[in-house]
Symmetry: C2
Subunit: 158 residues, 2 copies
C-alpha cells in the first residue's frame, strides 16, 4: 500500500468540493447538469444511509477525495459503496465506483493511493470482498492495486 | 420480456421465504450460518433504506422471489440494488445481485422471467442503466435477457 504523498490529504467528500469533484468526474463520464444544491442534497442523502446493526455510524456510501493541501484543490475522487447481503452469513460487499483523477494531478500515483485507501476502508467496514468494474485497458492498473479478474460486467441501458 | 408462467407469482421477499431463499442461494455460493432471526433483521434493514427525494417509498434494496403458488415454495430469488450517484446529473444505477433458481424449478425459463422483472423494476425506479457481474459461462444467458458486455469485474478478497 502507498501512503498519501507529501502535500496531499485524503478525507470524506464535502460541499466545498463541488467544482473540483464535478471537473474530475467529467473526465470519467457524463456528469450532466448538476447544481451545487443537488450536489449538497446527494451528500446529505449519503450521510443518512447507515450500515445495519452498528454503533460506530458506519455508512453505506463512502466517497473520498484527495486534496492538494496548499490550495484545497480536488486531485482525485472515488467511492466505496457497501451492500448488505444474505449470502456469506449476512456479509458485506464493497463496490468501488466513480474513480477519477484530475488530469492536472496525473503521474503522482494518486489513483493507486485512492484505490488502496478505498480497499482498506471496505476492509475496515467488514467487507468480505471489494469489487469494481473497469475497461479492459485499466485491468493492469487495478492488478497493481491488488485486484484480480473475477468476471464479466454486463449492462442494459434505459 | 416473458410474463410469469401460470402457477407462479413474483413478489418482494418476506420472512416466511427463509428456508427456500437460503436453499436457492446455496446453489450460487456460500450462505454460511444464517438464522431466521438474522434473515429477518436483514429484511427489516433493507426495508428502511429508501431512495432520496421520493414520496413513493421507493427502496434501494429490491429483492424479489418467484413463488410456486400452489405450495408457496421459493423457485427463484434475485435482487436489484439501487445506487445514487453524482454522475449523470445525480443518476441511479441498478445492480442485479444474487440470482439463484432452485434446481427443482429449472427448465421453466424462471431465470429469464426474474431478470426481466428486476430490469423492469430498475427502469421503473429511474435507473439510467442496470448492471451485473457474472461468470463467462453465463454471458449467453444474460444476452438473451437483453444485456451486453460492458467491462471486466475485478475483486480483492479480505
Ligand atoms: C472503477 C470505476 O470507476 N468504474 C466506473 C464506474 O464506477 C462508473 O460508474 C462507470 C460510469 O460509466 P457510465 O457513465 O457509462 O455509467 O464507469 C466505470 O465503470
Ligand atoms: C448476477 C449475479 O447473480 N451475480 C452474482 C453476484 O450477485 C453474487 O454476489 C456473487 C457471489 O459470489 P461470491 O460468493 O464469490 O461473493 O456471484 C455472482 O457474481
Amino acid at each position: 500500500t502507498n501512503s498519501t504523498p507529501a502535500g496531499f490529504e485524503i478525507r470524506r467528500i464535502e460541499s466545498r468540493d463541488f467544482a473540483g469533484v464535478t471537473t474530475a468526474l467529467s473526465g470519467l463520464t457524463t456528469v450532466g447538469d448538476l447544481s451545487q444544491s443537488q450536489f449538497d442534497d446527494i451528500l446529505a442523502y449519503w450521510d443518512t444511509q447507515l450500515l445495519p446493526g452498528r454503533t460506530d455510524g458506519a455508512r453505506s456510501y463512502n466517497t473520498s477525495v484527495i486534496i492538494e493541501s496548499a490550495t484545497g484543490r480536488v486531485a482525485a475522487v472515488g467511492t466505496v459503496f457497501v451492500e448488505k447481503k444474505l449470502i456469506h452469513a449476512g456479509g458485506l460487499v464493497g463496490h468501488i465506483e466513480d474513480i477519477a483523477v484530475n488530469p492536472d494531478f496525473r503521474g503522482k500515483q494518486l489513483g493507486k493511493v485512492l484505490i488502496n485507501h478505498l480497499s482498506a476502508l471496505g476492509a475496515s467496514l467488514g467487507c468480505y470482498k471489494v469489487i469494481l468494474d473497469c475497461d479492459e485497458k485499466n485491468v493492469g492498473f487495478y492488478e497493481k492495486c491488488g485486484y484480480s479478474r473475477a468476471g464479466v460486467e454486463m449492462q442494459v441501458r434505459m
